[in-house]
Structures are given as C-alpha cells and as structure tokens.
C-alpha cells in the first residue's frame, strides 16, 4: 500500500535519509523506530509529498505521493511530530475548518474520539496544554476515518492512561483494516501494537523485521539479587551490569548453561525476569556496551 523505493533525501548539513527501501502492506501496523534526528520525519515528509526527494520515490496505492498529493490525501490522516495549529482558534473551530477542507459531513467518529480522549474542544488552542494539543492532533488525524494513518510520535505529551487509550484505538483501527505507520522512539508502544518494525539510524534503515523475530533476536534479561554486594560477579564471563548495591542485571542469549554455572558460585537470593522490549533490540543497532 505504501512503497518507499530507493528514497534518498540529503540536506545541506549532510543529514537526511539514504536509499530507503521498504513497503507497508494494507492492513499492517508498521513501527518506525529511531532516535531524534535519525530520519523518521524526513521519511514521513516524503510519504506526504512535502519534500522533493533527491532520488527515489514514494508510491501510495501505486500513485506517486509527491505528484498526486491531492488524490492521495483523500485517504490519509496525518499526525505531525511537531504540532502547530492555528492558535487563535478554539479546538472545535480548528476541527471544523479541517472538516470543511476535507468535505467531511459525518461527525460521529469525531465525537466518539473527543469523548474517548476526554477532549474539551471549546478551549482556545493557545490555552491548551501539550497533552491536550496532542489529543486534538489525534482527533484531527482520525476524524475522517482515513484508510491510511501516518503518525509521527503520536503519544508524546500524553499521560500513561491516554497512551493506553491511544494504543487501544490503534489496535481497533488495525482490526478495521487500516494501514498505519507509527513512528516512535518509545519502543514499548511499537511492541504493543505493531506487526513489523523498521529501525532507522543516521538515515539508513538498519533493520526491517517482524516484531516477533525482532524480539527473538534479543537476549533475555534477568535481575539477580545477591545476598550482599559482591563485585566478583562482574569478572565472570556473563554479560552483566551492576544496577545498585546487591542488584545485578544479566543478559542471557541461549547460553543458559554458563548462566547457571556462574551463578552457582554466588549466594543468589532472588532472580526476576525483566520483560524484553524493543528497546533492547534497538540497543543492538545503536550500540550498547552491555549488549555487544
């Protein structure tokens, strides 16, 4: 549904994205991971046809997104990473304007979303908190019930409760067959809702895999509590990190025999498994001293 073909966009600073190739299938939720400045927003600008790529192209339903933007925009909902609204308007007036620009007459979905996110649209946008603005941006992106959703860091500024409401919304929309690109540097949310993820580093796509196989590639992490602090454990051949006092974190990847053999030498009083997250996978690509 979205095909990114040999996409290169270089800026004067030397940054940008380089020879990106990936596709997002219809009905798929695709996580796009990378830290700030890695090239996520640059990719999104090309998907939406804002920028002129240095080379390559983005096709949406087979149509070039830079040339036929007007046609493509009929089926797109966009949530920008850096949100700027018309501050002199009330939330309601802003949504009304967007609805008119989209020739949208059916407001039921919009009303449901406002209710769900507990968004008061009577407030002037300039008086809204960052979280409220984010909710407004979510409603603006979803209210016309588009086929494709391009969401740039959608949960930033939302409190944990609202983040969960948002992730539930993504799951529901996925069931309704929507195609979603969700860019993020919060790995947990990608893990929760995405089918596949692409990881971008310094403008290069360094991984493109199913969430499941990405998870399998990572080490299991255990928090090991010793009876008392004993840093001799750090000298074993385990991948280990001293958390604090008598608590240590151990990375285990297939080598359980070594793990048990080494731990036998110490007085262990507690072992807890720590939930693996995309963050650990991510660390693999960004380099982390404990995971190499």
């Amino acid at each position: 549904m979205i095909d990114i073909i040999n996409l290169t966009q270089t800026y004067k600073s030397g940054k940008g994205v380089f020879n990106l190739n990936f596709s997002i299938k219809k009905g798929e939720v695709f996580g796009y991971l990378g830290p700030n400045g890695a090239g996520k927003t640059t990719t999104i600008r090309n998907i939406l046809g804002f920028t002129n790529a240095s080379s390559g192209e983005v096709l949406i339903n087979g149509i070039n997104s830079r040339i036929n933007t007007e046609e493509i925009n009929k089926s797109i909902g966009f949530l920008p990473g850096e949100i700027a609204f018309y501050n002199s308007l009330r939330g309601k007036e802003f949504l009304d304007l967007l609805a008119k620009l989209r020739n949208l007459n059916d407001f039921t979905f919009r009303e449901r979303l406002e209710e769900r996110f507990k968004l008061d649209t009577n407030i002037y946008i300039k008086k809204m908190s960052k979280g409220t603005k984010q909710k407004l941006a979510i409603v603006a992106a979803f209210m016309h019930d588009p086929e494709i959703l391009i969401l740039d860091e959608p949960t930033s500024g939302l409190d944990p409760l609202m983040q969960n409401i948002f992730l539930d919304l993504i799951k529901e929309e996925k069931l309704r067959g929507k195609t979603i690109l969700l860019s993020s540097h919060i790995f947990e949310e990608v893990e929760k809702v995405c089918d596949r993820a692409g990881i971008i580093k310094n403008g290069h796509l360094v991984a493109l895999e199913d969430i499941l196989s990405l998870k399998q590639q990572t080490a299991d992490i255990f928090e090991v509590t010793l009876e008392k602090e004993n840093n001799l454990i750090l000298q074993t051949s385990l991948k280990i990190n001293h958390v604090k006092d008598n608590i240590y974190q151990v990375w285990v990847k297939h080598n359980y025999e070594l793990f048990f053999n080494e731990l036998q030498k110490f007085k262990v009083i507690k072992i807890t498994s720590i939930k693996r997250s995309i963050e650990d996978i991510f660390m693999k690509y960004y380099g982390d001293e404990h995971n190499e």
Binding site: R45, L48, G49, F50, T51, N52, T69, E70, E71, N73, K74, I76, F78, P80, E82, A84, F85, Y86, S88, L89, L97, L98, K100, L101, R102, N103, A140
Partner: protein, 266 residues
C-alpha cells in the same frame, strides 16, 4: 481556490484589516473634511514656511484650490503608500512564510486540496484585502466630497488615480508574496519584504526632491502613480494601470507555481 479556507483567512485577519482600514480612513476623512478652497491657500502658506526638502519628500508641493489635486497631494504621496505596504508585508508573510516556518501549513497540505489551490487561496486573500482597503477609502472619500463639496471632486480622475494606485500596490503585494514563498524562515521573509517596500518608498520620496533626481523614478515603480500624468491623460491611466495589474497577477501566478514545486520542510 478553496472557499472555506478563504473565509477562514478573511475572518482570522479581520482585526488586522480593520486596524489598517481605520488608520487610512482617518487620514482620508480628515483630509477631505479639511478641504476648503480658501483655506488651502493658507495651508499652502504654512507649508511654504517649512524646509522645502521635507515638503517635497512628503509630496506636499501644490495643494491648489481643486479637491482632486488637493487629495492627490495630501494622501497619495505618503499615506496611501506606507500603510497599505505595511499591511501587505504583515499579511503576505502571515499567509505563507509563517505557516511554513511553524509547520501549520502541514495541516492544509494534507487535506485533499492541491498546493496550487491552497497557494491561490492565500494569494487571493491578500489581493482581496488590498482591494477592499483601497476601495472602502475611495467610496468614503467620494461620499464625503459629494456631501460637503458637491461638484468639486473630479470623480473620473479620482477613480483613475486609485486604479493606478491599486495596480501598483497589487504588484508590490505580488512581490511580497513571492518573497514569502521563497523564504521558509518567517523572520527572514518579514525582513526582506520590509527592506524591499522600504526601498521602493524611500526612492519614491527622493525622486520627488527635484528635477535632477527625477531620473531615479525608474528605480521605483511607485513613481507610476504620477498624478500629473494620470489627470492629464486617460490613456496613461488605463495603460499604466492595466499593464501593472497584469504584471502583478503574473507574479502571483509565478509565485504559486514556485510554491507547487518547492520542497517544504514542514
């Protein structure tokens, strides 16, 4: 063009429009009301006492005893250039450069409306605001003149003068719009367009200083609003006005095409 966006634009800029309308109307009403064939001689005597350079730069060279010439001298050398041009700089940049700079343009460009349509609506907003600013002033001046000094205003000449003025200001607005499109940095766009209209305005004032400097009239197209020529030649008025207006509209079209091709970092 998108009518919903146009309505939003007109509404959201109404306060700015009304501010500039009230300033210019205040000058128009005062100037017209102050007209008196006898006292204009007095005014002339007063002006004669002032340093000639200042008088010439302000364009107050000849008040005469005829209302049209009096208004042309009083309003069309200074007031009707400076205020509309400040208005153009503020509005022209708010419609494009500001929205590209703060990325709010992203919302407009992800609706099913082409860039050409969005940019045409923004351009038309600027054009129509300028039109109403001039037109309302013209109508009010004509009404006051007809009530207070029936027959003194040569309406044909006066409308001709305003036609050329509007055409010239349209070209100024088109160039400011072009600057706004070429510069994605709002501050830079405001700076460049202010410098540009400032240059046009100052050169026009210097041009009036004397015959020797008359050659400088080619350095600013504001000098096309030449009251003597407009009042004496209908063909000058029609030709200059029409050509300038067409040039302005062509610059608008060019700006819209550039915006369509531009790579926007929003």
């Amino acid at each position: 063009m998108n009518k919903h966006l146009l309505i939003y634009n007109l509404k959201s800029n109404i306060m700015m429009f009304l501010s500039f309308l009230s300033i210019t109307l205040m000058y128009s009403i005062l100037a017209t009301a102050m007209f008196n064939p006898e006292t204009s001689e007095l005014l002339q005597q007063f002006v004669d006492v002032l340093p000639q350079t200042v008088v010439q730069m302000m364009g107050f060279t000849d008040f005469g005893s005829e209302l049209t010439g009096y208004l042309a001298t009083y309003l069309y050398g200074f007031v009707f250039f400076i205020f509309p041009m400040i208005f153009i700089v503020m509005l022209g940049n708010k419609l494009i450069a500001k929205q590209v700079d703060d990325s709010s343009m992203a919302y407009l460009l992800t609706t099913p409306n082409s860039r050409v349509k969005i940019a045409t609506t923004q351009a038309f907003t600027l054009f129509i605001n300028l039109f109403f600013l001039i037109a309302i002033n013209v109508i009010i001046i004509i009404i006051i003149s007809e009530i207070a000094f029936k027959g003194h205003l040569m309406i044909g000449n006066f409308i001709g003068l305003n036609f050329v003025l509007f055409a010239v200001l349209t070209t100024v607005s088109a160039l400011v719009y072009l600057i706004s499109i070429l510069n994605s940095d709002y501050g830079k766009a405001i700076g460049l367009s202010s410098a540009f209209v400032g240059y046009l305005f100052i050169m026009n004032m210097i041009t009036k200083l004397g015959n020797k400097l008359n050659i400088l009239r080619f350095s600013t197209f504001l000098s096309l609003v030449d009251t003597d020529k407009i009042f004496s030649s209908t063909s000058y008025t029609l030709l200059t006005g029409s050509i300038t207006l067409v040039v302005g509209i062509l610059i608008y079209c060019l700006s819209i095409l550039i915006f369509n091709k531009k790579s926007l970092t929003i």
